[in-house]
Subunit: 242 residues, 4 copies
């Protein structure tokens, strides 16, 4: 059973009626709810819990961490970011959703500004799969249609993804690399664009399927963690047995 | 259950005593034998069978095709190559082993000469994993040691792999990109260097593990095959409803 | 001085009044005209010339070949395709334009079907740069606007590009990876989408700039061509001097 | 004229006789010396200068920054690292040499530990080109031989390079991805392994050629810096003119 921790900033839902209407229990609870339909073991964690709910115990018991944040990126403590970063390098999977693109953890893993163009205009959005053989698009058609989503547009200041999975189309004339995989250390990372807090994207069956597929994709395998540092030769050097 | 077809040229084994000593039933039978230890459904096919054993029925019933060839690449009929190529684009996985790098099917999928440096000198070889989070190296240590393997050296004239998995070291002073993944159409391809016909590489447990992992990696998922050709607009064009 | 050969099928222009109106001398002459404004040495070649204008002499004297074809891909002889392919592997640059995506030479270099969705509907098109540091987008703004261009839509059945340069947006709701670089052998390849025969895309200053930049990018450098085949060890093997 | 700033930690040379013998004026001066043979404008900067010699003026006047550091990575101030990072995202090229792999600036740009295996044993080293068409290997043969170099071995904990240029071979049995390109923001980065402080690698003509080529490769072009933030639609939304 894959151990998933769904992390949510959980601020909009407390202060904004429009958000509460869509996600009365918080975005994390809605994500947890659809994950529980499959055989994932799910727990949640939020910013205002001690250690943001991401204690060493929780993280060492997490196979895949899901991250949603927006207005309070700066309130996430550097110590916890460091801890999550270390766990990703050790092998924990990370799924970064929507406005998580400017979270400290994603920026630290990418090394770039992760900035982009954006607009809230209740536009529709079409998320095209450009990687038809990828496990992450299994069971999805050629594209996902969302009636309303925030526009995120290029240039998206990220490293070229290891694998580009989705490109989004917006009626205002923009495109966006909306599904991207990365490997960092022993860990796998998936960025996925949908999920503005006032639109019901996490109720969409295709969005749910992508998130579930991506958890299976970035779940750690029983791989050996490399050894670093001083290293004795494996072969004879200069005629002297190694 | 994943349906695997192991294709072998099966010529060296019939004419060369040194090869028969290592693979008395043929390379394909040794590969089939270790695959059967896991839950794969395995069948074999060889060059001298009608249609090289790769009838439309066999191929349409194959999830992953394994390819070993060497001296008789030119005897593989273009029609069968075309058929295998089509199946890969449709989603069939393909694992190309050792001297299969210059098979018609691999060259057709790569678009390059696939040429390299080589030497048979009973050298040892060390196959380093450079992609520690990848499913293909699950259960493997930091490297695989083979007491004897043919040297394959750079430059290897392939497209930059989508993912580089292994780099090999040879005592004569050469290196080689010995494990490479590619996506082509809906299909996934893995090239893996070990397997010279006079050395017992396919008895090596780590080599076996890599081949098994790679079959699971390139096995088709239930993905939608894209539609190509004329396409009606999904949005209103110029004020006229689409 | 970079030696450029502009190859054009040159059929539409002879039979279709709408095309002749846009390109009275042929697409190749318009491309040659704007290239001559810069310091390129330009020659043209067309399908109906002997050897399609691509003799060994012409090709060995060409640094970068530009390719435009559409209705007559099948009339290009396999021998000439083989010759061009060999020259690309040796180092000649290749810029494939618009409907050249299904030319024999591009398909041979890619190894996939190169198929896509398409529609002629006099739509506008916006070509977004997603690789702001790349030499190919030098002097271009964030996007190129074309008043009219044929829609080419995903899925585009190509290998993942080595570098993705442009993504196009179409009003009908589609996106397209419209600028892609590849390295094959010693050669560099750039695919660029604009250029439907009835629209004046090759009169657009930004399109011209991209083609000029891409010629400079894929022009061969004085690189050593690797040696392939049997290779003596560079180090002592088993105690015996190499 | 390309403006190059060569940054060196410049500590080993002051305290270690063996290093001073090889680089009496410091590693930076030897690098500056061979760069001046070509038409680069070269300046140097070192750790112990005010602001490490990397004032805003110096950086804004630098096209390409070369970085050599080792024992004093932690003494580089976070503020200067931030400043260099910002300049790279804006477009400044960065060439990171040898032990610079664990400099703050490289780690920040990579997002990983950048750790590796190492050994000082006066071994020889062979640096194989695996990207024969790349501008960075222009004028280099198939490999570079160094009589003595520190061993750096896999796993090297870096993101998969955008382009892999070199793989090194060491007699002790290791391999290493020793030449790697990355794009981050508007900037280009090249990592190159040779340059242990007690070996004369920066006197080697091929090493010098690679560094010169890489400066030309990562030199900024006159590209437009993308705009980020709120963005008005470029097309009519919902029937209302944009």
């Amino acid at each position: 059973m894959i151990q998933v921790t769904v992390w949510n900033e959980y601020r909009h839902e407390k202060t904004d009626e429009a958000v509460r209407k869509v996600y009365p229990e918080g975005i994390h609870q809605q994500i947890a709810a659809f994950l529980k339909e499959d055989n994932f073991t799910v727990r949640t964690a939020t910013l205002d819990e001690p250690e943001h709910g991401l204690t060493k115990e929780v993280l060492s018991d997490t196979d895949v961490l899901i991250w949603w944040g927006h207005v309070a990126h700066q309130e996430v403590s550097d110590e916890i970011v460091e801890r999550v970063h270390q766990r990703v390098l050790e092998g924990m999977g990370l799924v970064v959703l929507h406005s998580g693109h400017m979270s400290k953890i994603f920026m630290k893993l990418m090394g770039t500004s992760c900035d982009l163009k954006w607009r809230e205009a209740s536009e529709n959005c079409r998320i095209w799969s450009v990687n038809p053989s990828h496990q992450i698009v299994e069971g999805i058609g050629e594209y996902i249609e969302l009636e309303k989503e925030e526009m995120y547009g290029e240039h998206f200041d990220i490293p070229a993804p290891d694998e580009l999975i989705f490109i989004s189309w917006y009626p205002g004339g923009e495109v966006f690399r909306s599904g991207c995989t990365y490997r960092r250390g022993n860990g796998k990372i998936f960025y996925f664009q949908p999920g503005h807090e006032t639109y019901p994207s996490y109720y969409n069956k295709d969005v749910q399927k992508v998130i579930k597929n991506s958890i299976r994709w970035c779940c750690p395998t029983r791989n050996v963690y490399p050894k670093y540092g001083h290293h004795e030769p494996l072969e004879k050097l200069g005629g002297i047995e190694a």
